[in-house]
């Protein structure tokens, strides 16, 4: 009986993997660099910052290099106790302003002051009482003046062409929200204007690069086609502002990004105005984020993600299929929950069951072989699709990637099991105290200490 359940789950797994392998391969058939439109829609970039003194300037660097004009930047200092505010002030020459007015639609913690940069007129800063990331985002949306809101993590750097890619994508009136491609900063060398992908990195970073690329190029890309993206990564997402208001903004939870994504799915299902709405993925809209480099940091991050995921699943469990579209509900239950979380538990038990049920070893070997085979093939397709999107590794780096893929499948990938199971258990263990967990601290010192102020794009 157990064996039958395992096999049925496994067949589901194979189906999803086949979909993720074959769809992107055929859909991304030519080199696809995206188009650039003349008419620029207004974009407000909201950047919540809480104790980000170490990396906030990286983020600023990306903003200064943007190839776009119709935008504003809203930093939201969420009651940082470090020098975040001071550092920003030093670079931007912030002056209090009374011209920025809120929409008064979503409640949030008290605003202390609103500043406008004297040097970069497109940059604003909201200084508020600490209320968590969701709260900071809500405050940011309140003061956003433009039609499209982009949410960006303070540790992420926008690619110069990212906003114009979003602009092109939102030309389709039905697009309500979109996720960008989150790349790992450490995986690139050279200047922000001409980054070159590299793979000369620690295993833990390599593992995350493979994971991000697979997740975005294959999974998100496929899910976008089926309108079943269940998470627009908090690091980099774009929304029609009105939709955020109609969804009543962000909920105070660690998984606020998944939460807002599901809320938008809910809008599409329950609100007639969003009936034809779509969530999409924009592979040309790139941001570079720093990934954890130590096991401890990675562990903390992933445990947080898993807790956030479980919290969202529980929060939306009654909405599935009723208030959420079929496709999104289906992916959420089968792909994310059943295969992503539930099956991790028995997978860990496999070695134990093998000891008990000795005759099962060939079945275990079969499942193992198929899983590894699919993982390797997915890795290869990821490289192919990535190249078609312009993510080209040079010869030697490519070889490293290809050699790492099978290795990763049988080593680092198992870490995922650990994170998923531990995260789930910890969620239920201290249900009430988890949402205060802190963002990871970056071991790395700021890479940009001085902003090049002579950019004329601002």
């Amino acid at each position: 009986m157990l064996l039958k359940i395992t096999l049925v789950l496994f067949i589901f797994f194979i189906c999803f993997q086949l979909l993720y392998i074959l769809y992107p391969l055929y859909a991304v058939n030519k080199t696809n660099k995206g188009t650039r439109l003349k008419r620029e829609k207004g974009i407000s970039v909201v950047i919540p910052a809480y104790n980000e003194e170490a990396i906030i300037l990286n983020c600023l660097q990306g903003i200064i290099n943007l190839n776009y004009n119709n935008y504003e930047i809203i930093f939201v200092n969420d009651g940082s106790q470090d020098k975040t505010l001071q550092i920003l002030n030093d670079q931007l020459d912030l002056r209090p302003t009374f011209k920025k007015l809120p929409a008064v639609k979503i409640p949030h913690q008290e605003i202390k002051d609103i500043y406008h940069s004297e040097l970069f007129p497109k940059i604003y800063l909201i200084d508020k009482v600490n209320g968590g990331k969701a709260d900071a985002l809500n405050a940011g949306i309140e003061y956003a003046a433009k039609e499209i809101v982009v949410t960006l993590d303070a540790d992420s750097i926008l690619d110069p062409d990212s906003l114009s890619a979003i602009n092109s994508s939102f030309e389709d009136k039905n697009i309500i929200a979109a996720g960008g491609l989150v790349q790992i900063q450490q995986g690139f060398r050279g200047s922000i204007l001409k980054p070159r992908p590299t793979f000369k990195l620690r295993g833990l970073v390599r593992y995350q690069i493979i994971q991000y690329l697979t997740s975005f190029y294959l999974h998100k890309f496929t899910q976008a086609k089926l309108n079943s993206i269940t998470v627009i990564a908090g690091a980099f997402g774009a929304f029609r502002k009105q939709a955020l208001f109609d969804a009543n903004g962000y909920r105070k939870t660690v998984g606020e990004d998944m939460d807002i994504t599901l809320k938008i799915h809910k809008l599409m299902k329950t609100n007639n105005r969003y009936k034809k709405g779509k969530l999409t993925f924009i592979p040309q809209a790139i941001c570079y984020t720093q990934c954890p480099e130590t096991f401890k940091d990675l562990y903390n991050q992933r445990i947080r993600w898993q807790k956030a995921f479980i919290d969202c699943i529980l929060h939306f469990k009654k909405s599935l299929f009723r208030h959420l579209g079929f496709s999104a509900s289906f992916f959420l239950i089968f792909d994310s929950f059943l295969l992503g979380t539930l099956s991790a538990f028995p997978t860990i038990l496999i070695p134990i069951t093998l000891l008990i049920y000795i005759n099962g070893y060939m079945v275990a070997a079969a499942l193992f072989t198929v899983a590894i085979f699919l993982a390797i093939y997915q890795g290869i397709v990821m490289v192919i699709v990535g190249a078609r999107f312009g993510m080209n590794y040079s010869g030697r780096q490519l070889l490293k990637v290809l050699l790492f893929i099978p290795f990763e499948a049988i080593t680092y990938r198992l870490l995922g099991l650990l994170f998923v199971t531990t995260g789930t258990i910890l969620y239920f263990k201290n249900k009430n105290s988890w949402y205060v967990s802190k963002r990871i601290k970056h071991s790395q010192q700021p890479t940009v200490s001085k902003i090049s102020l002579n950019k004329n794009t601002i």
Binding site: L3, K4, L7, I21, L22, L25, Y26, N29, K30, N359, G360, M362, V363, A365, A366, T369, V370, F373, Y377, V381, I384, R388
Partner: protein, 315 residues
Amino acid sequence: MLRNHLFNIFFTLIFFGLFSLIISFYYDDVSRALYDPAIFPTDKSFDLQACQSWRDDTRQFVVSNENKAKQITVLMYHRVIPEDQLNDTHVQANGDLFSTIILKSEFDEQMQILQDAGYTTLTLKELELFIQGNLDVPERSIVLTFDDGFKDNAIEAAPVLRDHGFTAANFVITGAVNMYDSAYKPGEYQYFSVDDLHNTCDVFEFESHTYNFHKRMEDNTPYLIGKPDKLVQEDLEASIVNLDGNTQAFASPYGAFDKENIQLFKQLDFNMAFTVIPGTVKQGTDIYQVPRKEVLANERIQDFKEKIGLQDGDT
């Protein structure tokens, strides 16, 4: 663009090629693990017709009147186990071997005796014809039978039979047959696998010993007698399906049967049925109550010879 298309197709073909290779490599193992070894399906057959056809080839023996057999002994065996493989499971509480267990060495010796004495083993068809008076057989004719269908029959007894040019009938509890072969473990109650049936179908003719009714009710009544006739019929029918429709003979578990059972044997077209009542078979013996003599554990050579009607000093 076109290059990419061709590449995609090529890539997909290789992918599915390798994928099917992996699947086919593991297919047997997985379906084997999924298979419930407790019972053989009622609707599947062992697919033995081809290699069992020999049992219908009735021989015409050239025998003079005085050399004609007047009576024939049918021997009954259960398990044959090598001495060095004996363990606790083979021994009763009092330390004696279960009566159904014959040592391999004893079996060898017994077969040697039969061969030395010039015995011919008859098929059940030949025995049937003899009982009906339609076939003359040599005086030194014998019928060997095995009950239950233990795997040791295939591993230990079959090669010995083959060496001596003998054949035997094997009454198989068909539901107990394993669809997939597994390693031979003489210490366990291990039944034939389908592979075993195929490997030994040159020396054994396989007959029904019920599908899954080799059991007793709570009050110890054997199923054949205790269970409703309809269920008995369904059980026997299942065994016939397993045996490719073969209805040459039936042997009731524990030798227990009643009048209704005999009626059923006839209704199901069984040609003959065996008991465990000792006796010799003569022309005119009730074809549905054919007696058999059980060869017991630790049987002395003397007793064995007596059983088959061999006088001391005869060779």
